[in-house]
Structure formats: C-alpha cells, structure tokens
Subunit: 235 residues, 2 copies
C-alpha cells in the first residue's frame, strides 16, 4: 500500500492533506480514487491507515481511519562512517541500509577524510524515500558530520567496534556481536583510520573488528555492518 | 598492490605487456617506476607477482617473478536474479556482490520481467573492476539471460531457494543454509515471481525462502542473499 511520510502526524491527527507533489503522484500517476486506502507514518513508529476523501490532482486529502504505534527494534544499530568522496556511493548505501533497517547514520570526519563537508538534506530525502518504499514506520536519523574523536567520546552503544584494515588484534564482527544489545560500528575513509584514531577508540572501550578477508569499499563495508548486525538479531 | 586482469595468463607466462590504457593508468596516473611490483590474475585463481620492466606510458611491460594458484571457495554461491528495470541498480549490486565474493550471476527472464534483454558486456566490466579493486583472483561468471524454467531445470546447487513475497510456506534463508554446501538463490523481478513459477521451482527440489520482514528492492535482495551465504560460511 502507498505510504506517505509526515513528521507532524500524531495520535490526534484526523485528516491529512497531501502536498501538490504527493497529490499528483497519488491521483494522476497511481490513479487512486476516492475511497481507496493509503498509509501515513511519522517516521517514529506511528502508522495511520487513511481513506482518500478528496481525489484532487493538486490537493488531495485523506481521512484517517486507524492508527497503530509500532514498537522500536529491541536493539538499535548506529553506523558511523566517513562520507565517501563520491556522494552517490553514500546515497546508495543509505538507501540499502534503510531498506534493511537501522537506526542512525553519523557521518565522521577523520584525519584521512577526502570529503570534509556533507550536505545532509539530500541524504535525508534518500532515507525517507527508502523507508516509504520498504514499507517501514521508523525513519533512521541522519546526523550532521562530527569529528571522529567527538563521535567516539559520545558513543553510548553497548557494543562498540572500529573496523580497520591495518595491523591490530581483531575480532570478527559477526562472531563478536551479541543478540539483544545495541551496537555502533565505525567505518573509515578510503585511506582507512590512522593508528592514533584506532588507539583513541580502544581507550574508549571499542574493539577492533574485521568484516572478512576481502578489501571492501567504504560504502560496502557500511552495508555489510548493517546486514551483519541484523542477521545476528534473528531469534 | 595494483592488480591487473588477463584471462590469457597461465602457468607458463613469463612476461606481460600492458594495454595502452593499463600502461597509462599505471605509469602516468599511479606514477609507478621500473622495479615497482604489481600483480596479475587470470580470474581463475592464478595470481602472479610481477616487476615493472619497462615503465612506458603507452606500452609498459612486466616480468613475472612468482605465481601461486589460490584455491576456490569450499562452497560456491550462484545468484539467479531477474535484471532490474534500471541497469545501474543491477551493476551496483554486481559490484558489491563481487567485493563480498560469489561465483555466478545468472540473469533470469520471468513472466513479470520488465527488462527482457540484457547486455552482459558492461556487467562483465563491472565484475572485473570490482574483482581487481577488492584484490581477488577469482572472477564471478556472468551468464547470458535464460528463461526461469530453463534455469530452474539446469540448477545443480546442493541447496536451492526461491525468494517469494507472496503467500507460501517459507524457510528463513540464514537459518536454513548449511555451511559447506553450494547454494543457488532465485530473486524475482519488481513484480515478483508468479505462483506458477514458484510451483515449478518446488517441483524441482527448491525451497521457498524469506530474507526477513522488510520489503526489499530486487537488487537489495540479491546482495542480502550473497551476504547471508557468506556469513554462513564462517568457521
């Protein structure tokens, strides 16, 4: 069923007016009629079922008929990843990670980062679109870029990992992750973390993790981390 | 180390002449000099180490100093997937699947396929590039498109799965896969397999599999299948 997103949707919302763009898509492109059902979410677990009351190509409106609050996942996953030089690679990764399900993307600025700034609006749109497409009601947070030291110091996940290609005593991420505990995984830029960054993470309760034997691109590593966490949550 | 690909490389090759394009990349872009080391693979497990003998921007040549034959994986993974409408999504998936490691991509033509033809040359290039980038010596095979019934009938993997979003008795792919056995996973087009296609697969020893609760795009499902198989191969 077609799913719309509006952060302002709440427990007491009874009607919902679609934007011009949404109206056009629903009525003109998808050819939905008065009486057809759609869904709206606030991205925070609230999922409303609604009937099309006015099927207008420019200003359609919906009447909400039912609402349910979907629970959050038992354990959350936070991805800390240095933005790739090419942002389309980062967008792909976020689209896929959202389809699979994760809670937060924190861009990090590292000593060897080639991309030092990041516009998050476009990434926000990618994540919203992937949430809608995959029929979910929880929107992953996309944070503003932060220096790695700050991100390490503020990280409060129960399990904290830094992925590193250099020499270090490492655990295998899949083997090490425990079901039912939140986790954060740090993925470095194309030139990897520096030994000092890894040492700083170790001082803050992190483990150095490996994602396998192959040399993975940054965005592939990010997606592997999300998938690995999710597979570990299976009952 | 820079890795080159040449299907013609064999046990007796002693010298290797780079193409004009490869020469330019190695000598002009990467600024490698006479005496620097690189690697060459035939994509079939043979990995040669070579020293740059002639550092010419147009026709560089290498002298091979050592060769080793890397073993194949204990169990192979074959992905049968209906090409996506947008080929960039398929290319992206093949790049990532190659980085992670898999053995064969068989495009399938299904009743609801929107894309009925597929040029494999570009996909071949994507796969070669990803193999080199990720430092591997085994090149996944990219086959020509085949009707799903033919692909099902010819599939000889030890574990055979068809992923389906419709109603069916399903196994969870991760739980069901056994370590040490080859596997094939079929992923349908945007509109999914038809019940008749699923029934045909069941008649040929397939199991219907689920990749989780979220609605995944075709190319995301393909990558999840590869990743799931690989995680199951961990000791």
């Amino acid at each position: 069923m077609q799913l719309f997103y509006d952060a302002a949707l709440n427990e007491s919302t009874e009607n919902y007016r679609l934007s011009r763009e949404e109206s056009k898509h629903l009525i003109k492109v998808l050819r939905k009629k008065t009486g057809d059902f759609v869904q709206v979410t606030n991205g925070n677990g609230l999922l409303a079922t609604a009937v099309i009351a006015v099927a207008d190509e420019n200003k359609a409106s919906l009447q909400i008929t039912a609402k349910e609050q979907l629970p959050q996942r038992k354990s959350s996953f936070e991805l800390y990843l240095a933005p790739t030089k090419m942002t389309d690679r980062l967008e792909w990764m976020l689209e896929k990670a959202t389809e699979l399900g994760f809670e937060k993307y924190q861009p990090i600025l590292c000593a060897r980062s080639e991309r030092k700034e990041l516009k998050t609006e476009r990434l926000e749109k990618t994540v919203i679109s992937a949430m809608k497409q995959s029929g979910q009601a929880h929107l992953p947070k996309v944070e503003e870029i932060q220096k790695i030291q700050q991100a390490i110091a503020n990280c409060s996940a129960e399990q904290k990992y830094i992925c590193y290609c250099g020499e270090a005593s490492k655990v295998d991420l899949f083997t090490s992750l425990e079901n039912g505990k939140s986790a954060a995984v740090f993925i470095g830029p194309e030139g990897d973390f520096t030994p000092e960054e890894v040492a700083f993470a170790l001082d803050h309760g992190f483990q150095v993790a490996s994602l396998g034997t192959n040399r993975l691109r940054t965005e592939t590593a990010g997606l592997v981390a999300v998938m690995t966490f999710n597979l570990k949550q299976l009952p």
